[in-house]
C-alpha cells in the first residue's frame, strides 16, 4: 500500500530524512520508534504533504500513485490520514461541521453524493459512542479548549469517521492517561483488517501493548536502522536506542 524509497527531506537548510525506506502492506500494523529529533514526526508530515518540509530525493508510492506529486487534500481523499501529535485548534468551526465537510470532500473525490444529514449524525454518534466521547463535543469548536487527551481522542474520532486506508498516527499516546489510551487503542484496533494499514509513531513501548504491531522499525538520524517484530520494542525499552543502534 505504501512504498517509501530513499526518502530525503529537509526543513529550511537542515536535512532531517536521509534515505528512509519503508514498506507497508495492506492489513499490517507498523510501529516506528526512535529518539527525539530522529525524524519521526517529519516522516509523518512529509507523507501528509506539509509545506514546512522539502523533499529532495526519493519516492513515495501510495496505492500505486506518486504520493509526492499530490496536493495535501488529494492525499487525504485518496485515503491517507495523519493523526497529529499536536492537533490544531480551529475556533469558530464545530467538530460536527468539520467532520461533515471532510467526509463529503472525500465522498466527492470518490464520485459519491454528499452523505444524508441523518446518516451523518448516526455515523457520528456511533463513532463517538465507540470512543466514549461526550456528545457535547459534537458542537464544540475543533480542539478549542480541549485537554491534551481530548484532542487525541478527537483525532481518533476523525480517523473513524473518515475511515482512511492508511492511518499514520504521530505520538497519539502522548498526553493520554491509561483509560484514555485504552479507548484510543480500541478505536485504532477497530480499523485492523485486510483493507487498512496503520503506522504508529511512538516514543514508548506502552502503546504497543494495546496496539500490537506486526513490525517495529527503529528510526535514527533520518533512516530506518533496524526492523523487527514486536519484541524489538521490548528490547528498545530495556536497552535504549544506542544499544540497538550499535547492534546494527
Amino acid at each position: 500500500m505504501l512504498e517509501i524509497r530513499n526518502l530525503h527531506a529537509k526543513v529550511g537548510d537542515t536535512p532531517v530524512l536521509k534515505g528512509l525506506d519503508l514498506s507497508v502492506a495492506s492489513g499490517s500494523v507498523h510501529a516506528i520508534m526512535g529518539p527525539n529529533g530522529a525524524g519521526k514526526s517529519t516522516l509523518a508530515k512529509v507523507l501528509a504533504g506539509s509545506e514546512d518540509y522539502e523533499v529532495t530525493e526519493g519516492s513515495v508510492t501510495f496505492d500505486g500513485h506518486d504520493l509526492l506529486a499530490m496536493d495535501i487534500e488529494d492525499r487525504a481523499n485518496a485515503g491517507l490520514f495523519l493523526g497529529f501529535q499536536y492537533p490544531v485548534e480551529v475556533p469558530g468551526v464545530t467538530n460536527a461541521y468539520f467532520l461533515k465537510l471532510a467526509l463529503n470532500a472525500k465522498r466527492k473525490a470518490a464520485g459519491l453524493d454528499e452523505i444524508a444529514p441523518g446518516a451523518f449524525l448516526k455515523l457520528l454518534k456511533d463513532k463517538m459512542d465507540h470512543l466514549e466521547m461526550d456528545p457535547a463535543f459534537r458542537n464544540r469548536f475543533v480542539n478549542v479548549g480541549f485537554s491534551g487527551g481530548e484532542k487525541k481522542r478527537n483525532e481518533i474520532l476523525q480517523l473513524l469517521v473518515l475511515d482512511p486506508k492508511l492511518a499514520v498516527l504521530d505520538e497519539t499516546d502522548s498526553g493520554l492517561d491509561i483509560d484514555a489510551l485504552r479507548v484510543v487503542a480500541k478505536g485504532v484496533n477497530s480499523l485492523r483488517d485486510a483493507g487498512h494499514a496503520i503506522v504508529v509513531i511512538t516514543h514508548y513501548q506502552r502503546l504497543l501493548d494495546y496496539i500490537v504491531p506486526d513490525q517495529v522499525h527503529v528510526l535514527v538520524d533520518g533512516r530506518i536502522v533496524r526492523s523487527g517484530d514486536k519484541d524489538l520494542a521490548l528490547q528498545l525499552e530495556d536497552e535504549g536506542y544506542a544499544a540497538v543502534r550499535a547492534a546494527t
Binding site: 501528509a48 487534500e73 492525499r75 487525504a76 480551529v90 469558530g92 470532500a105 476523525q158 473518515l162
Partner: protein, 443 residues
C-alpha cells in the same frame, strides 16, 4: 418634510445651499434648526484628514461630486421587486425609504400599536412638539459637519416610540434604498428611537441599492434607551460599491439600560459607521459588535466613542474586519471614563484578517481614563489566515478554497451568531457569506 427637496440642484455643499429656503408649512423651530445647523456646517465644511476623527478617511468621493436631492419616487415594478427581495421576514414593521423619500405604499406598520412606529414626517404632522423634544437632542451638530448637513437637509426618517414595559415582538426594519437617478443623488435621513422604561425593541437599518448609480446616504440615528430598557440596533450595510454611506448613531443609556449595536458593513465604496454612546445612568451595558468585509478599493471606517459618565457601567466592543483587494478597514474607537465613572468595566477589541498584500487595516483603540477604580482593556490584531489551520483542514481532505472559506467564515461567524432574532440572523449570515465569497473570488 419635502422642504429639503427644494435644494435640488445643489452643486457642492457650500454654494448649493445658499438659496435654500424652508417650505412655508414647515414649523419655524425646524426651519431655525436647519439654518443653525447649516451655519455650523459653513464654518467648517467637510472634514479633511487633518481632523483627528477623520484621519484615516478622506472624503474626496463626497467632496468632488455635485450631489442632488432627488425628487419624488415613482414606484415601478423594478423597484417593488427590489424592495421585496430586501424585506426582512418576521419584521413587525417595515418602513421603506427610496433616495430619502418615504414610500408609504411599500411600507407597513400594521404589526404594532398606532403611533409606535411612524415616519418622521408623519410624526411632525401629528405632534410636532413631540418631535421637537427629541430631534437633535442626542446627536450634536456642532463640530460634526456630516451631522450638521443631515440636520440642515433631513428629509424624513422613522420615529420609534416604545411605551413603558412594552416588548416589541419582531424587529422594526428601516430599509434605506439607494435607487439613484441620472445624477449623483444624496439623501439625508434621521431616525429617532425612544425606548421608555423597561421596554424592548430591535431596530434594523438596512442599506441596499441599485448598482450603476451614484448615491450618498447620510443617516443619523438618535437612540434613547430608558431605564431597564433594551434596545438592539442592527445595521446591515449591503450597498453596491458605487454608493457611499455615512451612518451615525448617538445613543444615551439610562440606569440599567441595555444597548446592543451590531453593525455588518458588507458593501459600499466608502462607508463611515459611527457610534457614539453615553452611559448616563449607573449599571448600563453597551455591547458593540462590528463586522466589515471589504474588497477592491472599498474603504470602511468604524468609529466609536463610548462615554462613561456615571459609575458601574459596562462596554463590550468587538470589531472584526476581513479585507481583500486594495481595501482599507479602519477601527478607531475611544472609551472615555470620566472621574465619576468608578467601577467601569470596558473592553475594546479590533481584529483584522488580511487576504491580500494590498489590503490595509488601521486599528486604533483608545482609552481616556479619569477614574481610578476601573477595569479597562483593549487589544488589536492584524493578521493572515493561520497556515497551520489551513494545512490541518486540507489534511482532512478540504480543498484549499473550501478550507479558506471555512476559516474566513469562522473568523466572523461568532458575531453573526450573536444576533438574537432568527430571521435577521439568517439574513445577515447569508449576506456575510455572499460578501466573503465575492471577496474570495476577487482574491
Amino acid at each position: 418634510m419635502s422642504a429639503a427637496s427644494s435644494v435640488t440642484g445643489v452643486s457642492g455643499w457650500q454654494t448649493g445651499h445658499a438659496g435654500w429656503q424652508p417650505e412655508a408649512t414647515e414649523a419655524s423651530w425646524l426651519a431655525t434648526l436647519r439654518r443653525q445647523a447649516l451655519a455650523a456646517f459653513d464654518t467648517t465644511g467637510l472634514p479633511t484628514t487633518k481632523v483627528e476623527a477623520w484621519h484615516y478617511t478622506p472624503l474626496r468621493a463626497v467632496r468632488d461630486v455635485a450631489w442632488t436631492h432627488a425628487g419624488g419616487v415613482e414606484v415601478g415594478a423594478g423597484l417593488t421587486a427590489f424592495v421585496d427581495a430586501a424585506r426582512l421576514p418576521g419584521a413587525s414593521a417595515e418602513l421603506v425609504f427610496v433616495d430619502g423619500h418615504h414610500v408609504a405604499d411599500l411600507s407597513r406598520t400594521d404589526g404594532l400599536p398606532p403611533g409606535a412606529v411612524v415616519s418622521l414626517s408623519q410624526a411632525l404632522a401629528a405632534d410636532g412638539e413631540a418631535v421637537r423634544a427629541r430631534l437633535a437632542t442626542l446627536a450634536p451638530w456642532h463640530d460634526a459637519p456630516l451631522n450638521a448637513l443631515n440636520t440642515a437637509f433631513v428629509q424624513d426618517g422613522v420615529r420609534v416610540h416604545v411605551p413603558r414595559r412594552v416588548d416589541v415582538p419582531g424587529p422594526v426594519h428601516i430599509l434605506v434604498v439607494g435607487w439613484g437617478r441620472d445624477v449623483p443623488t444624496v439623501a439625508h435621513l434621521r431616525n429617532l428611537v425612544v425606548a421608555d422604561t423597561g421596554s424592548r425593541v430591535t431596530v434594523v437599518v438596512s442599506f441596499v441599492g441599485r448598482p450603476g448609480h451614484s448615491v450618498l446616504h447620510n443617516v443619523v440615528d438618535e437612540v434613547g434607551v430608558g431605564a431597564d430598557a433594551q434596545v438592539t440596533q442592527v445595521v446591515l450595510g449591503d450597498s453596491p460599491d458605487d454608493h457611499l454611506v455615512v451612518h451615525r448613531t448617538d445613543a444615551r443609556l439610562d440606569r440599567d439600560a441595555r444597548y446592543t449595536h451590531q453593525a455588518f458593513w458588507l458593501g459600499g465604496g466608502l462607508v463611515r459607521g459611527e457610534v457614539h454612546a453615553t452611559h448616563a445612568g449607573p449599571g448600563a451595558e453597551a455591547t458593540l459588535d462590528g463586522v466589515f468585509v471589504a474588497g477592491s478599493t472599498q474603504h470602511v471606517d468604524c468609529h466609536t466613542v463610548i462615554d462613561h459618565a456615571v459609575p458601574r457601567c459596562t462596554t463590550r466592543e468587538v470589531y472584526k474586519g476581513v479585507l481583500g483587494g486594495k481595501a482599507r478597514g479602519v477601527f478607531d474607537g475611544t472609551v472615555i471614563v470620566r472621574a465619576d465613572a468608578q467601577q467601569t468595566d470596558a473592553s475594546q477589541d479590533s481584529r483584522n484578517l488580511l487576504l491580500s498584500d494590498d489590503a490595509d487595516a488601521n486599528a486604533k483603540p483608545t482609552l481616556e481614563i479619569y477614574a481610578d477604580d476601573v477595569k479597562c482593556a483593549h487589544g488589536t490584531t492584524v493578521g493572515r489566515l493561520d497556515p497551520d489551520q489551513l494545512a490541518y483542514l486540507r489534511m482532512r481532505g478540504l480543498p484549499l478554497s473550501l478550507a479558506r472559506r471555512v476559516l474566513i467564515g469562522a473568523f466572523v461567524s461568532d458575531r453573526v451568531d450573536r444576533i438574537a432574532h432568527e430571521g435577521l440572523r439568517a439574513r445577515v449570515a447569508g449576506r456575510v457569506e455572499a460578501a466573503l465569497a465575492a471577496l474570495q473570488e476577487e482574491a
